[in-house]
């Protein structure tokens, strides 16, 4: 990603708003943008979802491959999660090999899903030591107006929950079966803008903000992944405050997925 010039005027403007507990688009500190989730939107994917958060739009698609299990885990399949932010998504995204930003995005989302244990990797084994399913979750942004992390995490787990193992195509049985996904981990991201953390920063707030913190919580409220990104210092009190908000908001997002599944 090309690092855009950070306009000092924007930073000053955001700081001034923050002093009055305001945000540039009129939201309150913990408000999200309007969030929409659609399932089953990609015809050639075995599971898919589209998420729109304000002007940020992402897709997640699940594909399956047959892999040889790792020698130390002969009875397990695998999960691979990769994020691709192609130049279609915004004027600062450039073509070429994956940027550090997109690698970080993919890995943080991957950890939240993997560590929640929502996918039973033992169930993905076909022939121990020889054949297993590899689940590939591809996260793909078409419009980046900030907070790709939460959009990817939401689309990613929703796509996995709708995925069907293509057993017919691979000539293993007469019917495809749902990928067993037992949990619904969700992520909340916070950006420091004008000296205080806000939830669901948009592109302008990311541009004129400082460090960010990403929290993935499981169904029981347990923490599954954390990530602090970019330059900045935060206090234990600040972290406690956003963690408290994340406990509520992650549950709301989980309910949104469950409602969409119907």
């Amino acid at each position: 990603m090309a690092i855009p010039l950070v306009p000092q005027l924007l930073r000053a403007h955001l700081a001034e708003l923050a002093e009055n507990d305001q945000r540039h688009d009129g939201r309150a500190r913990w408000d999200s943008r309007e969030t929409e989730l659609e399932l089953g939107v990609l015809q050639n994917a075995e599971g898919s979802a589209k998420v729109r958060m304000g002007d940020t739009i992402v897709y997640a698609g699940v594909k399956f491959q047959i892999m040889t299990p790792y020698p130390d885990r002969p009875n397990q399949g695998g999960l691979m999660c990769s994020a691709e932010i192609r130049p279609v998504a915004g004027r600062n995204w450039e073509p070429g090999p994956p940027s550090p930003e997109s690698i970080e995005l993919g890995r943080v989302v991957d950890r939240g899903i993997r560590e929640s244990g929502c996918i039973d990797v033992d169930d993905l084994c076909i022939i121990p030591g020889e054949k297993a399913w590899q689940v590939i979750l591809d996260l793909f942004a078409i419009s980046d107006d900030g907070n790709l992390f939460d959009a990817f995490a939401l689309a990613g787990i929703a796509a996995l929950k709708t995925a069907m193992l293509p057993e017919v195509k691979f000539e293993m049985s007469d019917a495809d079966r749902p990928l067993p996904v037992s949990k619904t981990p969700t992520m909340c991201s916070y950006h420091k803008v004008g000296g205080r953390f806000v939830y669901d920063a948009d592109g302008k707030e990311e541009l004129g903000g400082d460090e960010r913190i990403h929290i993935t919580l499981g169904d029981d409220g347990h923490v599954h992944s954390l990530q602090k990104g970019l330059k900045g210092i935060f206090t234990a009190d600040e972290f406690a405050e956003i963690m408290e908000h994340a406990q509520g908001r992650c549950e709301e997002l989980r309910q949104m997925i469950l409602r969409a599944e119907g």
């Binding site: 050639n44 594909k63 491959q65 279609v88 004027r91 793909f140």
Partner: protein, 238 residues
């Protein structure tokens, strides 16, 4: 072309595997403004194909060595998303996508009034989200609508369609099975207001008469798709 000429793809009533007659297009729908952060954008669904295109610019061309003193340069990228195909597509450029990016740029450079923006660059990004035969045509069509949506001046919009031959029958707008097993494929990029061409490829085997028939199918289909493009642009942003 696969060259599996013995696969029966036209039934006794002359209908194709998806129920179309030889001259019929797949359903096409177009929507503009689907990528809010872009200067212009479009989504085209065409049969099961699903493509989005974004336009950024005109903007400063850098590095400076790519600048042209008398005109803008087009930076066109065609790409298939990893989940767009039946088997996962490994991310990154390959020879096929590079060639399609190039011929798409060649087509669009023929219509965009580049001399209006010297020393600048216009970025055109085409992403195939679901592929079902004819993605280069769908991508080029989407890019044309996105350019118009961005307000970039052009002499005409390019409409792209591919006709071909299956079981010795010339058919309009090949679908996936026909593309895989057919005997010929003729994609064209047409300027609907004049009937001129800016993009042409072909592979397979066509007699002069069959070639003419496929050509005529493309010309007729271009007018139908052009009307859908115009309607989408007049309808404003979604």
């Amino acid at each position: 072309m696969g060259g599996y000429g013995d696969v029966q793809m036209i039934d006794e009533n002359g209908l194709r595997v998806d129920g179309r007659g030889p001259a019929d297009l797949r359903p096409v729908s177009i929507e503009t403004g689907v990528i809010p952060v872009a200067d212009g954008s479009a989504r085209v669904t065409w049969g099961s194909n699903h493509a989005v295109a974004a336009v950024y610019g005109p903007m400063e061309a850098h590095p400076r060595k790519i600048q042209r003193q008398d005109r803008a340069v087009l930076d066109v990228r065609y790409n298939m998303a990893p989940f767009s195909t039946t088997d996962r597509m490994r991310p990154g450029f390959n020879r096929r996508s590079r060639e399609i990016s190039k011929v798409t740029a060649d087509a669009l450079e023929s219509v965009v009034l580049l001399e209006m923006y010297p020393r600048s660059k216009i970025r055109i990004e085409i992403e195939i989200l679901t592929a079902e035969a004819g993605t280069r045509c769908v991508g080029l069509t989407a890019a044309s609508v996105a350019l118009a949506h961005a307000g970039i001046p052009m002499t005409d919009m390019v409409v792209s369609v591919a006709s071909g031959k299956i079981n010795d029958v010339v058919v309009c707008d090949l679908n996936k099975e026909e593309d895989n097993y057919g005997e010929a494929d003729l994609p064209m990029g047409i300027l609907p207001n004049t009937g001129e061409l800016v993009f042409l490829q072909m592979d397979g085997d066509l007699s002069p008469a069959e070639f003419q028939e496929a050509w005529d199918y493309n010309m007729e289909a271009a007018l139908v798709v052009h009307q859908i493009m115009v309607d989408a642009l007049k309808g404003g942003d979604a």
